[in-house]
């Protein structure tokens, strides 16, 4: 041990623990002898100190009664009845990074579970299938309007020629669209003139074409069927409120709505009805 500029009684204790008297430096001896009487006293104190340290280090000590701990833990729980706070403190431990905290992990697990539930096929399909059913029902007009087992509705279109001679202008475009769209030509003989030679169709403009048309082969496309049916709906609706005058003949036109399977029959009927209408137009 190097000599120090300042000695104090604590150094005597450390000197005694580490050195015998003859091992001391001259400065240290001088310092020791300032506080102790002789070398014998130094050695005597040194042996006592070593014995004390040895005795205390080997002493295992006594344990307090275990009931003390249990009593204290009960006391702690009763005096600190804040279960939620303790639980929250254990979740929000501040000594660890944010991503390692139990609360963060629990929230992340909940979030992943909710996300999985929302995106799961069963959850998605149950909602979508419900919507799809609704959409299908709304689009499936034939199902609602035309039940399969129900007889096709029939509407009779009665053209009352005894009344006014005016045919609403809305009828002509519909009929022309039906003709043009279906590319149909009239095959039956169509009377070109009425009995009185006049035909008041109520339209302005050129007179309709004559009936002396060559035989026409009925041509129908699949897309024209639907438009034909729609047009027939319109015609039936309009014609039900339409009155024709000076018609050479009064014919009742039966418009039979058919389902998809009897679309061909509908086209034939349509052909006949168009021929009748043409007769009306040409007669006027």
């Amino acid at each position: 041990m190097r000599s120090q500029e300042k000695y104090d009684p604590e150094d005597i204790e450390s000197l005694m623990l580490h050195k015998q008297f003859h091992e001391l430096y001259p400065e240290e001896k001088e310092f020791v002898l300032r506080h102790l009487e002789s070398e014998d006293e130094y050695e005597s104190m040194r042996s006592i100190l070593i014995e004390i340290k040895d005795s205390f280090s080997n002493e295992e000590g006594h344990q307090p009664d275990r009931r003390i701990k249990s009593n204290l833990m009960k006391e702690f729980s009763t005096s600190n009845q804040r279960g939620i706070t303790i639980w929250l403190n254990s979740l929000f431990v501040s000594d660890i990074p944010f991503y390692k905290r139990p609360a963060t992990i629990v929230l992340a697990a909940i979030f992943v579970g909710v996300l999985f539930f929302i995106l799961s096929p069963s959850f998605f399909n149950s909602n979508f299938s419900g919507n799809s059913n609704e959409i299908a029902q709304s689009l499936d007009l034939t199902k609602d309007t035309l039940p399969v087992d129900a007889p096709p509705p029939t509407e009779s279109l009665a053209i009352d020629t005894s009344n006014a001679n005016v045919l609403p202008a809305a009828v002509k475009p519909v009929v022309l669209a039906m003709i043009e769209g279906n590319q149909m030509e009239i095959t039956e003989d169509v009377p070109t003139e009425s009995s009185d030679g006049s035909l008041n169709d109520g339209f302005s403009g050129a007179a309709p074409t004559t009936a002396s048309a060559p035989d026409v082969v009925l041509k129908e496309e699949s897309s024209a069927k639907k438009s034909l049916e729609a047009d027939m709906d319109n015609l039936a609706t309009i014609a039900s409120t339409t009155t024709l005058s000076n018609s050479p003949s009064v014919k009742s036109v039966s418009i039979q709505m058919s389902d998809k399977e009897s679309a061909a029959n509908t086209s034939v009927n349509m052909k006949r009805q168009l021929s009748l209408l043409d007769r009306l137009f040409t007669a006027r």
């Binding site: 042996s47 004390i52 003390i68 204290l72 804040r82 403190n89 139990p102 992990i105």
Partner: protein, 205 residues
């Protein structure tokens, strides 16, 4: 297993544990108890003349104070010095109530640190030495005895002892020095007796 536990409580410092105790954390309190209960119990045993019941009461009272008023501990200071300060004050109050010194002298005659009757010769020497040591310490005043106990039994530093006993470091050093000198005077003859007995036994063999 996705979840990983947070920092174990046993790795936290005393000051960190006390902050958790003030937040009503029972696990932190349990760790504090496990660290200091035995040390304080043996300290009380030595300061209260081996009175087991009273020492256990003191341990329970001290930790009950921690439970009820954890805010009394200042996190800025060392918990070790704080808890020993509390223990020291409890012993001081006890000395003020009773004249312990007279009882201590009587108790030392009838109690020893080791009561095992099957001790070997060396262990008997140690047992006898401790009895003599305790007897010599009982002659000292409370401050010197406490200083000696904290220094050599609890192995605290001079600075820590000065904080606990609210005195200067020089005072602590002086007390230790004079305690050793006193013990040397009291136990010198005991050492001599042991050496003589040992010498005799060796010669007979």
């Amino acid at each position: 297993m996705i979840f990983q536990p947070s920092t174990p409580f046993k790795k936290l410092s005393d000051e960190q544990l006390m902050m958790l105790v003030s937040e009503k954390n029972a696990q932190a309190f349990e760790v504090i108890y496990d660290r200091y209960a035995k040390l304080l119990y043996n300290y009380f045993l030595r300061m209260l003349r081996k009175d087991k019941e009273k020492s256990e009461d003191f341990v329970q009272d001290l930790f009950t104070k921690i439970i009820r008023k954890p805010e009394l501990f200042d996190p800025q200071r060392s918990f070790k010095t704080w808890i020993y300060s509390v223990a020291h004050n409890m012993c001081k109050n006890e000395y003020a109530k009773h004249d312990v010194r007279k009882e201590a002298h009587r108790d030392i005659l009838y109690r020893s640190s080791s009561s095992d009757e099957t001790n070997t010769g060396k262990e008997m020497d140690k047992s006898l030495f401790q009895e003599e040591l305790n007897k010599a310490l009982s002659d000292l005043d409370a401050n010197k005895r406490t200083t000696f106990e904290l220094r050599f039994h609890q192995e605290l530093s001079i600075q820590e002892i000065s904080v606990i006993m609210e005195c200067s470091e020089g005072t602590v050093k002086s007390r230790i020095f004079y305690t050793l000198k006193h013990l040397n005077e009291k136990l010198k003859h005991f050492k001599n007796i042991i050496q003589v007995v040992f010498f005799i036994l060796i010669n007979q063999l």
